[in-house]
């Protein structure tokens, strides 16, 4: 028996080592396959959660109206998001900055999606949405709402995708402050007790002196993930550091309560 246990232990360790040293492509396939298996359960869980919430609010008899209302809300938000992008395009055209290129970049095709669940991990800020490669979603696609930027897709399976929120330390966005020449790189904080999330805008000039309330938008780095003009949030405070200036940004989207989002799947 002891010999059998030893063999099984060795097998488990071997298997764990093999899994640990798998190539990135193999891990992505494994992860995608696992999430495809899990996604029906997550969808059922979300439906159950909504059902419970609906019962709690006493809206059980208004289910159909509620569904229709939600569909219209989604359409409305999609239209508002599109309008915002078109407004950005108009503004950029007015400034005569890279007009032609910006027009090309600002024509997005949006796929509406819903947040299925929020990652249960403690140290990362991610959510899962109910769209995957079947819907044309790929890795590194920006996620937005009508209020601004939410994050980007980091893993995609058949019909579910994981979105890294802009409040995650690993999500870095080239950003600029409206009305100034200040540009920097935004990223989330590793540890934040704010449920809405907090973002830092680093590498600003020391003399920036940004006023609270100034709008921060994505700068649209060449070859980057995020197109220009997407709103990140507003400046909460500014401080000088030894070598640069740092602004604390309040996200324009409440990342703790988002439900309906849009994936920018392509630029025409």
């Amino acid at each position: 028996m002891a010999k059998l246990n030893g063999i099984l232990l060795a097998l488990l360790i071997l298997l764990a080592v093999v899994v640990t040293i798998l190539s990135t492509g193999a891990v992505r396939s494994l992860h995608s396959g696992f999430m495809s298996v899990v996604s029906p359960f997550l969808n059922v869980g979300k439906a159950a959660q909504e059902q419970i919430g609906s019962v709690g609010k006493g809206l059980r008899t208004l289910e159909q109206i509620d569904a229709e209302n939600r569909q219209l809300t989604v359409e409305n938000r999609e239209l508002r998001a599109t309008v915002q992008i078109l407004q950005d395009l108009e503004m950029e055209n007015n400034r005569l900055r890279d007009a032609l290129g910006y027009m090309e970049r600002s024509k997005f095709r949006l796929v509406p999606a819903q947040v299925v669940s929020r990652d249960a991990s403690t140290w990362w800020n991610t959510v899962r949405i109910n769209r995957g490669f079947e819907d044309g979603v790929e890795v590194d696609r920006p996620i937005i709402t009508d209020k601004g930027l939410v994050g980007k897709t980091v893993s995609v399976s058949k019909n579910i995708a994981t979105v890294m929120l802009i409040s995650d330390e690993n999500c870095k966005v080239g950003a600029k402050v409206e009305g100034t020449r200040e540009q920097g790189v935004s990223q989330g904080r590793r540890i934040s007790s704010e449920s809405k999330g907090e973002i830092e805008l680093n590498f600003l000039t020391k003399q920036a002196e940004l006023p609270p309330g100034a709008e921060v938008i994505s700068a649209g780095v060449t070859g980057g993930v995020f197109p220009p003009g997407l709103k990140l949030g507003t400046v909460k405070s500014f401080r000088q550091r030894d070598l640069d200036g740092q602004a604390l940004i309040e996200p324009s989207v409440d990342l703790s309560t988002i439900r309906d989002v849009f994936v920018i799947v392509s630029e025409k």
Binding site: N5, V17, V38, A120, S121
Partner: protein, 190 residues
């Protein structure tokens, strides 16, 4: 053997359900956004209640499940890479499982609180190791940043697991008597 195999199967299903359930439990707003994490508790239960080969199976299933559902992709030198390699939690759960196997005799004699203790410790230690590891990976952006929030997020889930473990044990007894090892059932509740 059949009873143990069934117990293992039941606990693997429970681990899977816990993986899903965890996703829908919101962070605890009043406790610095700490999360409720259930899987280490169930793995501990399997490791304390089941014989060695079945413990290994539960460790493999729980570790792989935790790694894959929490897998985080970050920008690397050549595209996106997992921040913590899948398989890491298998090693961690294996270490926990081996300790639990050493305590198994006591658990089967009725020292049920060992389950609570191991659940709390293993949950907090897992979070602590994750934090240290990602801090090491992100050393260029600040290194380890200790704060009261970190401690809350490490120790609160452990405390919750510590408190939930007896309830889980009781629930398992009430709902699935045949799936529990005879020793623990008779000593603790019988």
């Amino acid at each position: 053997m059949t009873r143990d195999a069934l117990s293992c199967l039941g606990l693997c299903v429970t681990i899977f359900l816990a993986l899903i359930l965890q996703e829908f439990i919101p962070p605890l707003a009043g406790l610095e956004q700490a999360r409720v994490i259930l899987v280490p508790m169930i793995v501990c239960y399997a490791a304390l209640a089941l014989p060695f080969p079945f413990m290994l199976l539960a460790v493999l299933f729980g570790g792989m499940g935790m790694d894959l559902i929490n897998l985080q992709w970050v920008d690397g030198k050549n595209g996106m890479v997992p921040e913590i390699a899948p398989g890491a939690t298998i090693f961690y759960f294996l270490a926990v499982g081996l300790v639990c196997q050493g305590l198994r005799v006591l658990f089967l004699r009725g020292y049920w609180w060992l389950f609570s203790l191991m659940s709390g410790l293993s949950t907090s230690l897992l979070l602590l190791l994750q934090f240290v590891f990602i801090s090491y990976r992100r050393f260029d952006t600040g290194g380890i940043e200790w704060s009261a929030v970190v401690l809350w997020r490490v120790f609160t889930p452990g405390l919750i697991a510590f408190l939930l473990a007896p309830l889980f044990h009781l629930l398992a007894y009430l709902t699935g008597r045949s799936l529990l090892p005879v020793g623990s059932r008779s000593r603790v509740f019988g």
